[in-house]
Amino acid sequence: MALRLVFMGRLETVAGSGECAVPFAATLDTVLAALEPALADALTADTIRLAVNGALVNDTAALVLHDGDELAFLPPVSGG
């Protein structure tokens, strides 16, 4: 039972790697509470978007996670 966390852009630098596996938890708050506080703070900043299994999530409070879900934390983009 696990979740996969993906850290894009500068979050990769904060996390120390681009992705990691964490034990399964049904809510985002529980997942975040088990992380380093500095990383949890960076992931919950206003500018960070969350995608679960490739779909953007607008209401993270209502989110119910399932075993094997991929949670991607997406900072502001800079392309071109």
Partner: protein, 148 residues
């Protein structure tokens, strides 16, 4: 083939891509193209673009569909690099073909403005041996507002 949208992890040849795109659109009245390359800068050694597989290419395809729906285009080409690049390397190529030039100009600019600040890319550059993430600039968002 009205639109051609590609996300590339390896270098591409913009001239060859443009030649092929134009040849397929002999009846378009005008073709407007933009090539973005890694800017030459005394201190910048390299640039890296990250993407997120489930979102980046689908987002680019949706952007192309928006542009095709907004202007009467004969074709639209969007090619975007990811990975490690160096000064002078092509990053992005947008080419819009239309019966009339204003539609081609507008569609190419619309696509570029959205690729800069609304597509799923993260950029970092290496200067003086140190990597630094690049955040979007205010002007990029101002550019986007023109289309709302």
């Amino acid at each position: 083939m009205a639109r051609d949208v590609r996300l590339l992890t390896a270098p591409f040849d913009p001239q060859a891509e443009l030649a092929r795109f134009s040849a397929d659109r002999a009846l378009a009245g005008g073709i407007v193209s933009f090539l973005g390359q890694v800017r030459g800068d005394a201190s910048v050694e390299a640039l890296e673009l990250q993407y997120y597989e489930p979102l980046t290419l689908p987002g680019m395809e949706s952007l192309a569909d928006d542009a095709m729906g907004r202007w009467p285009l004969e074709g639209l080409l969007i090619i975007h690099r990811t990975g490690l690049m160096h000064p002078g390397d092509p990053i992005v190529l947008v080419s819009a073909a239309a019966r009339h030039r204003r539609d081609a100009f507008a569609a190419a600019e619309f696509a570029m403005d959205h690729l800069k600040s609304e597509s799923w890319f993260w950029k970092r550059e290496k200067a003086n041996g140190e990597w630094r993430w690049i955040e979007p600039r205010t002007v990029d968002f101002d550019d986007l507002k023109r289309w709302q």
